[in-house]
């Protein structure tokens, strides 16, 4: 039995009954080892079954439970009540995305952008399986490993004012994942990704606010990935101007 309780002010939007969102106040038991997601699950199970939100693994791997907690993009499975207690906690859907219902955002835009950067290994010519796997040294793995930790939680998009102001921006996670594959020694897809990455809506839209890297729960540093992609893009461009034939 919890000794005390905590208040949650939760964003509600039910398109069938309201045109504008409202905030609903709930009380949940306070436990030192509870996270915001535990409190939401308590509300859903015991208080109000109509509350909608996404979650799955409860351990910072699936990237489903990202929400705004007191205005900051957070994985609610990693946001402990004790860091906010005894003040009330305001829970809202991830910023910069349309809201489908309550805390559920529409992620179609991100999914399309993710697909556009082709985040998979591209080969000019696949070698036959009989020739074995594509080998990679630990040093080659180290060049991209950090960017491969992305769990597509979209906290970086909620933190990015450039994406908030102009949703045509490809955005932090998609570019970090493009960079992850561009840096992979087994990949030959740089040219295929260049059109998306080097266009204005790609890396050049980023003004290096860096908040995406601050909120990233996996220390991917998407802001760094974007700047590094800018450097490679600029070098490629200079090469193509100085050595129009040599760069082919």
């Amino acid at each position: 039995m919890a000794k005390s309780s905590i208040t949650l002010e939760v964003f509600r939007y039910r398109p069938e009954i309201e045109q504008e969102p409202t905030f609903q106040t709930y009380t949940a038991p306070y436990h030192e080892d509870w996270v915001v997601l535990d409190a939401l699950n308590y509300i859903k199970d015991e208080v109000d079954g109509s509350l909608s939100y996404r979650w799955s693994c409860r351990m910072g791997v699936c990237g489903s439970c990202g929400m705004m907690v007191n205005g900051e993009p957070k994985l609610t499975c990693a946001a402990f009540l004790k860091d906010y207690y005894p003040a009330p906690i305001r829970v809202e859907p991830l910023a910069n995305f349309p809201v489908e219902r309550d805390l559920v955002i529409n992620m179609d835009d991100f999914m399309h952008k993710l697909k556009d950067v082709q985040p998979w290994i591209i080969r000019d010519q696949e070698k036959p399986v009989s020739e074995g796997e594509y080998l990679q040294s630990p040093a080659e793995l180290a060049t991209y490993k950090q960017f491969s930790m992305c769990i597509n939680c979209m906290l970086c998009y909620a933190a990015c004012p450039v994406y908030g102001l102009d949703p045509s921006f490809i955005g932090p996670a998609a570019i970090a994942l493009a960079q992850r594959y561009n840096l992979d020694s087994r990949d030959q897809g740089q040219d295929a990704r260049r059109e998306v990455i080097s266009q204005h809506e790609g890396v050049w839209q980023c003004t290096f606010v860096s908040e995406c890297s601050v909120v990233c729960p996996k220390d991917v540093d998407p802001a760094g990935a974007i700047q590094q992609a800018k450097v490679s893009g600029a070098i490629d461009w200079f090469k193509s101007v100085l050595m129009p034939r040599g760069s082919q």
Binding site: P98, P138, D221
Partner: protein
């Protein structure tokens, strides 16, 4: 029933909502002061082309309190811009020795060392001669 709700972001006041956004805007705005300084500097060079008399008169005008305050503000802006950019360089420049990444302090540090070296040369040219 689907009717996605879109929240809007203020194009003019968004940066007031978070400290990191304010610091970012300050870094961007330093360029306005630096641009203003460069305009003054270009005028100064134009005066030099006009001859010694015009140049001396212009430099004397720059000694007024208003211009000194302006140049102090430019100096603060240039320092803020340079320091914040140098501190960001480890995110942009990644050097590796095998599996190990060269530590951030060496990347940012090399920029500070280069800055110091250039400053020493400038001071030597301006003061030493």
């Amino acid at each position: 029933m689907r009717e996605p709700y879109r929240r809007s972001m203020s194009a003019t006041t968004w940066w007031l909502s978070k400290r990191i956004y304010v610091l970012f805007m300050l870094r961007e705005l330093t360029s306005v002061l630096i641009a203003a300084f460069l305009v003054v500097y270009l005028i100064q060079l134009a005066q030099l082309a006009q001859g010694a008399e015009a140049y001396t008169a212009f430099v004397e005008r720059l000694a007024s309190p208003g211009w000194i305050i302006f140049h102090l503000l430019v100096l603060i802006a240039a320092l803020y811009h340079s320091i914040t950019w140098f501190n960001l360089t480890p995110q942009v420049i990644i050097l590796r020795r095998g599996e190990e990444q060269v530590p951030s302090i060496f990347i940012a540090g090399s920029h500070y060392v280069a800055w110091l070296a250039v400053s020493v040369v400038i001071v030597w040219v301006v003061v030493g001669n």
